[in-house]
């Protein structure tokens, strides 16, 4: 019998923790450092790859994802060395997807050819907004013009190009967003990540918001309207919203992210990277040291991980649902039952179906468009004690 992770597949995440500047909304593990010893970092990544490769020998690797931070600050040689090592350690699928997150600046664009030569075949650009005023407010260091130029270069270099936009910004009207989104869709892009601005604790925006700043954020009703409009406008342009915040032309979904959402196995390498690895029949949660210097030292000492915990069956079922229900395709109810050893509450499922938040039927648990907008409440109901 196949192991549970095989439903989702196996991927590799590599975290590059440095940025040129910290964005005020971002709560990812990113650091601004004037001096980075690229050779040392390369050695460290390769050492970690060897360690994890030995544990997962023989698995077919489907995806590699360079995230951050700003991985487009990595030297193309580093990316090349990593991908060479990857191909040596694992058999890779014929359609290996290698994504790199990039800042849409002119300097980065100069490195695109090098990344492509190293084996990167998909680029995900953090464009975030298509007007300069909002880009400034979001603390971005690039301009719309630079972003468009970088996009054009990327389009010429890579097979697949995606970019991110943040909406539900301060003082953004429904009409503003609608026209900005249409503009984005008119660019020759094949995948979009469209996130509503989320104010996270521990960020500059979080502090400002707590002090009563950041006025003009949309109320619940406007942000609901914006979300709905996003679905409609994307659908008209042939983009399916396959996940809560992700839209693509058919077949252009992020395969790496699908591994997370389908609750496959993924190795996480680099400062603060998370992983899920099934070893010896037991799924583990892994985390690496968050602080870059601490991580480097730990790797030198033989292991960059700060935590490796078995995930209980019950928690696996919870995680499988939390991740899987973000997808339009939903989750196989049988799989959840196999993991947790018990059925989801029929009463809860029926209640959510009556409310029009889950699709009918019990074989697959799948949200309706209305249900996806209420996913946190839906999951709370499904997993309520």
């Amino acid at each position: 019998m196949p192991e549970d992770w095989e439903t989702g597949g196996f991927g590799l995440y590599i975290h590059w923790p440095f940025c040129q500047a910290k964005c005020p909304y971002c709560d990812f593990n990113s650091h601004v450092s004037p001096q980075v010893d690229h050779a040392r970092w390369q050695r460290a990544y390769l050492a970690e790859l060897d360690r994890v490769g030995a544990e997962t020998q023989g698995r077919v690797l489907s995806t590699v994802y360079f995230g951050g931070g700003t991985p487009s600050l990595m030297a193309p040689e580093t990316v090349n060395a990593i991908l060479e090592r990857v191909r040596r350690l694992w058999p890779v699928s014929n359609s290996l997807e290698v994504t790199l997150e990039a800042n849409p600046g002119s300097v980065e664009a100069g490195r695109f050819a090098g990344y492509h030569a190293a084996g990167v075949n998909r680029i995900s650009m953090g464009i975030q907004a298509l007007n300069n005023h909002d880009l400034q407010r979001l603390g971005r260091i690039h301009s719309v013009e630079e972003a468009r130029a970088a996009f054009d270069i990327a389009r010429g270099v890579f097979d697949r190009v995606s970019f991110d936009l943040i909406y539900a910004r301060q003082n953004q009207s429904l009409a503003d967003w609608q026209s900005e989104l249409r503009e984005a869709l008119s660019m020759a892009v094949d995948h979009l990540s469209l996130y509503q601005l989320t104010i996270e604790e521990g960020t500059a925006f979080g502090d400002r918001y707590a002090r009563g700043g950041l006025r003009g954020l949309p109320d619940d009703d406007l942000s609901a309207d914006m979300y709905q409009v996003t679905q409609e406008v994307c659908a008209q342009a042939g983009f399916e919203g396959y996940e809560v915040s992700n839209y693509s032309r058919p077949g252009e979904e992020s395969r790496h992210n699908l591994i997370y959402w389908r609750y496959g196995d993924y190795a996480g390498i680099g400062p603060g990277a998370h992983g899920r690895l099934t070893l010896g029949g037991q799924r583990h949660a892994t985390e690496s040291w968050r602080n870059p210097a601490r991580w480097l030292d730990a790797v030198d000492a033989g292991n960059g991980e700060s935590l490796r915990d078995p995930v209980s069956c019950a928690d696996q079922a919870v995680e499988c649902l939390l991740m899987g229900l973000r997808l339009v395709e939903g989750v196989d109810a049988e799989r959840v039952k196999r993991l947790s050893g018990q059925n989801l509450s029929t009463e809860s499922v029926a209640h959510l179906q009556d409310l029009g938040l889950l699709d009918p039927g019990f074989a697959r648990i799948r949200t309706t468009p209305k249900g996806r907008m209420l996913l946190n409440s839906v999951i709370a109901e499904l997993l309520g004690d």
Partner: protein
């Protein structure tokens, strides 16, 4: 044993903050009763809650030896009485145990409503009253005006009022001298007669058992006697007899006119009722002292643990508190909305708050308190009668002949600039004006009000419309029939028992609308729309609809950090613990009280 002529027993009557505790502290200090190093603020208030709120819940007594200017040393017994209307019976018994009172009035403020109630108790007990004007060192003090007010409002001569500053100690020797020269010694009292002592108050001490404060009328109380409580019938061997200085100090005996304590291995405060008569088991006195009445709870509410697994802890806490408080009653209650809890009866709102605070603090149990309700008298068509302590238990109206509710006589003193607002408030609460008089720039209004309009947030409202300048006191004057109905609240078409209230029929629509609007704000939006209705019988009289939540989804997926998502879910679940599940609807705990508050 002190000669009667050398004893003075007295109490201090004062409004909160007018300086009663400070004056008591000064009397104790000046006479050297407590060593300087043991002095602390509010010596006589033992409970944290008493100190914090500046109120007295239990009577305390202190014995002071005072060498007077006439060359004799006098024994002064001060009884510090509870000052609040909730404890008016206890106050009346304390007043009967002494012969005089100091009436302390803040010379910057004047007479307040609470002062009136207590001073009338003193007058009822035939006290000699010595007016004392406090805070005369403050620039705002207006001695002449306040003295005049005492004469006008209370009707006692204030021309030779003692002027003091309890804070600075000024005038304290004159107070001591006035106690000796102007208050009478105890009347009568025969040492050879059978023991007759009044039970003034009692409290539980974990080492000594119940400590009983007594005033000896006739005879002698001493260690080793077998005594009998004439009303409750219990008999006990006296272990110890003593006086407070204010530390407990043993004495050989207490004779006529003396005040002190006894311990007799009594296990429950319940067995020592305030106002009872203590005598010897053999050759006791013939008749108990008049005026005893068992205390009856007038305000009821439900207490439920927030965490339902703490129900047994709550039971334990309530049982322990009840051992020490005979006036507090309880019975188990089950609410569909709130689970298992207790329906508790109290002497009044302050009593309720004190008990609730003590459970939360001393026993560390977080509570949901349902809206307080009064005791209704329900007369059935079949001629039977029942007392209704909980609106949820209201019988079917078709079987009800009529309902009577308790009414109070409320006295409110207020600066005249706020008078209009106070009258409106009383009018809104179905009040009938009985009297209105002026003393200077202050008005005294007397209203006949339904107690149920007062138990909830009347005092809060009064404070807010008068910016805290009004004072308020009340006494229950009896029951009267009115057009009362039970109003139910339905959330998502299901009645929520804990939100049922008794209302006057004419006010039902208004109250119902206000409650529905409040609940609409208090209940968070759900995945579906929720009708909120108020109904009488089967008839809906008010309705609001809480629209459905439209969007509740985390935009970012945080990459592969599934742990973070799981933590967010746990946080969401923890938030829900602050709610009560009702059908498919979660109602926040605070809604059960807030929904019933009336604004304006």
């Amino acid at each position: 044993m002190t000669e009667l002529s050398r004893i003075r027993n007295f109490s201090i009557v004062a409004h909160i903050d007018h300086g009663k505790s400070t004056l008591a502290d000064r009397l104790i200090q000046l006479t050297g009763t407590v060593a300087e190093r043991d002095m602390k603020e509010q010596l006589l208030d033992a409970m944290d809650i008493e100190r914090e709120r500046g109120i007295t819940i239990k009577a305390n007594t202190v014995r002071i030896d005072y060498p007077a200017r006439d060359g004799h040393t006098y024994v002064l017994n001060l009884i510090d009485t509870p000052g609040h209307v909730d404890f008016s019976y206890e106050v009346s018994r304390s007043m009967r145990a002494v012969e005089g009172s100091l009436l302390v009035v803040d010379a910057t403020q004047g007479v307040e409503a609470q002062t009136l109630a207590n001073v009338y108790q003193a007058i009822d007990a035939d006290h000699e009253i010595v007016p004392v004007l406090n805070k005369i060192d403050l620039p705002a003090a207006d001695v002449d005006r306040v003295a005049e007010q005492i004469e006008d409002v209370i009707g006692i001569d204030a021309s030779d009022a003692v002027q003091i500053s309890a804070k600075t100690g000024m005038g304290i020797p004159e107070v001591l001298e006035a106690i000796v020269t102007r208050l009478p010694p105890p009347h009568g009292g025969t040492r050879d007669a059978p023991l007759k002592a009044m039970l003034v108050d009692s409290k539980y001490d974990s080492y000594l058992g119940v400590v009983v404060i007594v005033r000896v009328i006739d005879g002698v109380l001493k260690k080793g006697q077998r005594i009998r409580m004439m009303r409750t019938g219990g008999t006990y061997d006296v272990d110890r007899v003593g006086v407070y200085r204010p530390a407990m100090t043993s004495v050989d005996e207490l004779g006529p006119g003396e005040i002190g304590f006894l311990t007799a291995s009594i296990k429950q405060v319940r067995d020592t009722r305030v106002g009872d008569t203590t005598t010897t088991e053999k050759k006791g006195c013939e008749a108990p002292l008049p005026g005893f009445k068992p205390s009856i709870p007038v305000v009821f509410c439900g207490l439920f643990p927030v965490d339902s697994s703490q129900f047994e802890d709550l039971r334990d806490a309530i049982e322990k508190l009840a051992l020490n408080d005979a006036s507090f009653s309880y019975e188990m209650e089950t609410s569909a909305a709130l689970g298992f809890g207790f329906r508790c009866g109290f002497l009044g709102l302050l009593h309720l708050e004190v008990i609730r605070d003590r459970i939360e603090r001393e026993y560390d149990i977080e509570l949901i308190t349902t809206a307080p309700s009064v005791v209704y008298h329900v007369f059935m068509k079949d001629g039977s009668f029942r007392e209704l302590h909980n609106p949820a238990d209201m019988p079917d109206l078709t079987h009800v002949e009529h309902i009577e509710e308790p009414r109070i006589k409320a006295t409110i003193m207020v600066p005249d600039e706020f008078l209009g607002d106070v009258l409106k408030l009383c009018q809104d609460r179905r009040g009938i004006q009985l009297d209105m008089t002026y003393a200077g720039s202050r008005a005294m209004v007397v209203y006949d009000l339904p107690l149920n309009e007062v138990v909830f947030d009347f005092y809060d409202r009064l404070k807010s419309v008068t910016k805290g300048y009004a004072s308020f006191d009340y006494q229950i004057i009896g029951y009267r029939q009115d057009n009362l109905v039970k109003m139910q609240v339905l959330v998502n078409d299901e009645p929520v028992d804990a939100l049922s209230t008794m209302v006057h029929r004419d006010r039902a629509e208004q109250r119902g609308r206000a409650m529905c609007e409040k609940l609409k704000d208090l209940i968070p939006r759900h995945m579906f729309k929720i009708p909120i209705q108020a109904a009488i019988g089967g008839k809906v009289i008010a309705r609001e609809t809480l629209s459905a939540l439209r969007k509740d989804v985390t935009a970012k997926c945080y990459g592969g950090d599934a742990t973070r998502k799981r933590k967010l879910l746990d946080k969401q679940k923890a938030g829900k613990k602050k709610m009560r599940q009702f059908g498919k609807v979660e109602i926040p705990q605070e809604a059960f009280i807030s929904a019933l508050k009336m604004d304006g």
